[in-house]
Symmetry: D3
Subunit: 291 residues, 6 copies
């Protein structure tokens, strides 16, 4: 069970109201690489986890991500606070409020008009957060790799936000949040390698020799070789040789029962295209000019 303390994990000191910057920050609140996605990713994994060590780690990090959600959400709220008051109270002339809404940019109009200046679970473009952002599948050798990648991505989005932020208090808090992603990535890496073996994931063995084949399907100028397709590790196959790799005819077929075959045949006949039937079409008629 959770408990909460009204102190933030990291103090947030914003030097002035800036709704456009607030809106950019939403990427890490309600965006795909943001803190809600992180918290829910680890929390849902933890609930079904049998391994006591991983379960504890996932809960530790999920809980911390909730505290980060609070920090970034508080930054958004502070950056919007002045504009929120002005719009709610209608203290200025309409033309002035329109100009300031209009001029702020970065989709902050959505945040002001629809969400009243509060942190919303959208990204900086107003796209609603969706659980489609969470890719957990309940197999730890996959989920830990997904977590490693997720932390790496979140680190970079924080880096980009820092690169466009001048407010020192906001930069400071962003720097902290960015750093914790690095730390979490390290923990997930250690946890992955504490499973032995962890590659290939799962139980079923690959079907030889296709696990060592590299197909050169993209040809023309710029074809390259490297360790990712080198002869040392892979059998390098020409993708232009359009033959089915199983040695078969490359067709798709199914055995149908007699009534099924008859129904399919009837459908095919009813909707058959006649290659000889070249009729004037809607486009032909429609293309005629007005006289």
């Amino acid at each position: 069970m959770f408990s909460h303390n009204k102190r933030l994990q990291y103090s947030v000191r914003v030097s002035e109201c800036n709704p456009a910057l607030a809106n950019l920050m939403l990427e890490q609140f309600g965006g795909p690489q943001g803190e809600l996605a992180a918290a829910m990713r680890y929390f849902t994994q933890a609930l079904a986890e049998e391994d006591p060590g991983r379960k504890d780690m996932l809960l530790d990090i999920a809980t911390e991500e909730l505290s980060h959600l609070e920090v970034i959400g508080s930054i958004v709220a502070m950056l919007n606070k002045g504009a929120k008051g002005e719009l709610a109270e209608g203290v200025a002339a309409e033309a002035e409020l329109f100009r300031s809404l209009q001029g702020a940019g970065n989709d902050s109009h959505v945040t002001q008009l629809l969400y009243g200046g509060g942190p919303a679970l959208t990204n900086s473009g107003g796209q609603l957060w969706t659980a489609g952002y969470i890719d957990s599948i309940g197999e730890p050798t996959c989920d830990l790799r997904s977590n490693i990648a997720a932390e790496a991505r979140a680190k970079i989005v924080y880096e980009r936000l820092i690169n466009v932020t001048t407010d020192p208090g906001v930069r400071d808090a962003l720097g902290f949040l960015m750093t914790r992603e690095v730390s979490h990535q390290k923990s997930f890496e250690k946890a992955l390698y504490a499973i032995e073996p962890n590659f290939p994931p799962g139980k079923l063995p690959p079907m030889e020799p296709f696990d060592k084949v590299y197909v050169d399907t993209s040809q023309g100028p710029g074809n390259m070789r490297g360790p990712w397709n080198s002869d040392e590790h892979f059998e390098y196959v020409d993708g232009k040789d359009a033959r089915a790799v199983d040695g078969g005819d490359g067709q798709a077929s199914v055995e149908l029962s007699t009534p099924q075959a008859q129904a399919v045949e009837a459908m095919a006949r009813r909707t058959a295209s006649d290659p000889e039937r070249d009729r004037p079409t809607g486009a032909d008629i429609g293309g005629e000019k007005k006289r």
Copy 2:
């Protein structure tokens, strides 16, 4: 530019119509771990990639994933073919068609009624494919990790599908597709380590010492230690000590201009809650029994 050959990369031989099984296969057609997501993930990365080696590799693998999309889609089409004909032509009595739709299960009713038995870009529950499944962010040390994780996940979903499939032709094709994920994962791993250094991702250094801190935020029965939070690699911090780690007061604050401060104050006054004002509420009135 792309070209196509009507031969499949792997021949598909289905032994009988089975719409319920067809529907499960949709996970790898229009589901989050499926082949469209894979192809689009690598293809969009390739378009903005500057490094010639990675660009070539991403295009090679993206193109092959499109061929896999064709294989799994052909499996779906074959498994549905008989049922599709029967529904389209209405060859049986309504009660019989209802029963067979009803009995098939696994949401195959959506595939039959709405998509006419064709492979649809949904998962096995009818959830529409969304670009939210793709997590590319345009930084190769992140995107390659995302790709590694994605291949691992796809391998497992194929493994689960194989575990519930008896049709030998379908099993065979699924085994091939599963295997290719293993091979692609290897390539992405090699490509990641061909970048030096690749950790931490990006350019900005972490803020010390927070990159080495592990916060024990989840306590109580089941607390564990391991390499992911060991003293050797981390400073292990008690998460119950609710103090802001920056040494500040853990508050969020913002400097407002005078008009902003006045507007915020007016708004606060207008919407203030009076802790002394304990009024009968809608629930109080609504809870009264009929006399």
Copy 3:
């Protein structure tokens, strides 16, 4: 900031594996009336709240909803645990695993195949959780009413789940969760009435007399009167009298600049329909029978 204890707020004792029941429980995990929606609803409101009493209450209840998310998620995990193991390890023949997946129903095939038996942020039909479920707009006299309604809805979905559950441990935990919604609704009601006045919400006065008009737009058999449209409270107006209520012509018009007017005129001319031009159409051609 948050902390966590691995003890649940309410113990969960499940008497046997039941993936179909597990799937129904997802309504309160990742469904629109579920605990994530509740927690995020109150948490995001709290972050932008200026009133100290409401802020504290919102954080208290948001935090408890996270603990409820953990309880309902643990129920899902326990109900799926056996089936998860069997699918992951492929311990039975494929036909048997297919039958048990197929027979379970209630979309549990998605949970098993895609999410590996773990609690996923979807509803019982596999629909991904979306922030569109959260209707907070940053005005407390609205948000508290939204919260009251949300608690009422959640109470009922728990009631329906209890009505279809025989497992005594699950019923017990559901009863607790259902009850807490009642308690939270009471708190939100009290908080709403601690704001004076709280109706109509906001600052702008309504435009008289339209705030007291009731338009009888739906006529015919079954027209009814009651306090919601009584003469005591409303002016009852006949909706069939199709006149603009402002006394105007009921038209929409805009003043255009000359270049705009010319462009609109050109567009209208280019795409004008000629009511005299009755041409054979695609449907006419297409309707001709094969000879």
Copy 4:
């Protein structure tokens, strides 16, 4: 402005409660080819339409589609009515209610548990209705073609529903609704051809000779010729000849300013992959077996 009469456009007489059939009907209530999509498609087009004839027609048909939404929604409500009462009142033992929920199938569990048996704006798989289903773009020669296609699709989904329905009252009403789609398609066809010319849509002429080229990009077994790619209408081009059709090098390039070029160069250097650098990877380490 709209008015309403509580009589349906077509009487609905359902012979018994059938939640599984109810759920299939949702395809035409909240599904992509359903009546809400139709009504909103035409209504939004009408609002921005300048041509008086099309505007009137669009409003006529939009309004009728709302009446159809009411008919199909009433069918759903009637088919669910008994089951709704039983679940709401909990009149039977939990095991019995679970079995009847479970056994009904076709995702009717979502309709019962979440929506209380009422018609919900989802398709038969529980997928939430989205405005992404509406493809209006504000150019009548396109929108009328979209409407023609939409009516054709709706006709077929009704046909499929009729094919699986035995209840005579439901079949009767579905037959009426199906028929109206045919009639609407005819009107949209006539309206399209009342614009002269209507092909190609819009104002900009195509770039010759590419409007007459057909590229044979898919080769191998099954290559076919017909009026859609005949020499009479098209220049038939071999898609395997991988040359840029503009006669250029088929490359993408951009002129960068000096600072931009330097930044891109720095980024490329930082993230360069070294084709010679073949390091052991995570997969290599992870693949090592436990000793």
Copy 5:
């Protein structure tokens, strides 16, 4: 069934083309608090409603909301009309059209380019309308509360739009629409209290004493008391005392059959993390600097 009159319920007189303002108006057309959501909310409730008084009221208000959708949509169409013509006809130089598209702001570029200046079922940020906005669950004591809250929210979004609009004709129509929300809220309130009792919603009684408990889960600076958690109405409980409230161990458990237990055990063994196994990881390798 519905009928329509081409007169608007309220005349719309727009004084000049303003695509940026048009886009803000979309919040009440295709946004979550807008008129389509309102109309569909009440209409779908009406279809399954048994009570004749509520059914009539829901149809009256749903129908009026459709007329409001028409008014707000007409405002959008008028505000966009000039810009639509200019883009469609390409009457100005490309650079000028780009600048005007670019400069307008508020996401009006989406409305112009994609929707051709017509009112689209999106909010002001381009987010597609989704049925996830509608929270009806088929229990009137909940749905009426949801409706009350929805009307309150819509009132406020209209208020914010008025606060940023200078065009007198648009302000006038917005004022009318805002006012009708107040009137509808009153009707829904009266209808809720015409049900006796209406609290708690539903049939199952709460589980005592948890309906009177308030858990103080958020502690630290700013803890407050008020009627929402006062001793008069609630038992105030300390949320830091991390014990399961049922007196149990706060664990989640399930009884597994023997084969299930064996499968789970096998899975646990296969994916066990070894807390002693501290291996170099991908991050360790990846962090090594180029030599």
Copy 6:
């Protein structure tokens, strides 16, 4: 199966970095009328197509659309390339980067911050691509009409993009892509009319006389007649005559079993509204002014 050549189908020469223009181009990359939607529309149809001619044509065009996706994506990548480098490397001061992000407009901040300047599968407003854009239903006389409409729409969105683009290389490539839509529309028209008959779609005949009825549901100023509702083709019926067209009572009814009828009756009684019961409501209490 697919293969790829790194040459584009059309060379892309961009004259300068322009993120705002890049973002507009996303409409045809990840927007509803864009190239991914086109490719997937035809590809999924092809997989289930039995007719060899249509299958070949669908594969030819689907494959070409993938090549178009590559062209438009390369335009996006080139237009963003400079800005991407600057943000990734943080080469300028934060204030400058913020200004350039802010000033660019057209939602390019999302593309820069979240997607790192790469082409993302969103439209120009950041809306994630969804398979809801694809309307294939597996009946060729519908799907071909849908394809015709889709090509017409895509042609127009390209036309609008050309109208706002000054860069000659981009205009050139857009002109090519626009032209190919015209050519594809022609092929789909020919293929539709090669099926005989193709109207009405499907197998079930319409229910006479309703296929020839036109209902004048929208009346008042602006009522028009034309070929779409002329007496020559239609029976023109007055929509204000609110009678059920089947001659029945226009009611919805269902036969319930006795237990069902009792449950429904109990539910109706429990939630009955009493038209005589006019109680003070939450709004009445809430409207009282502070004393």
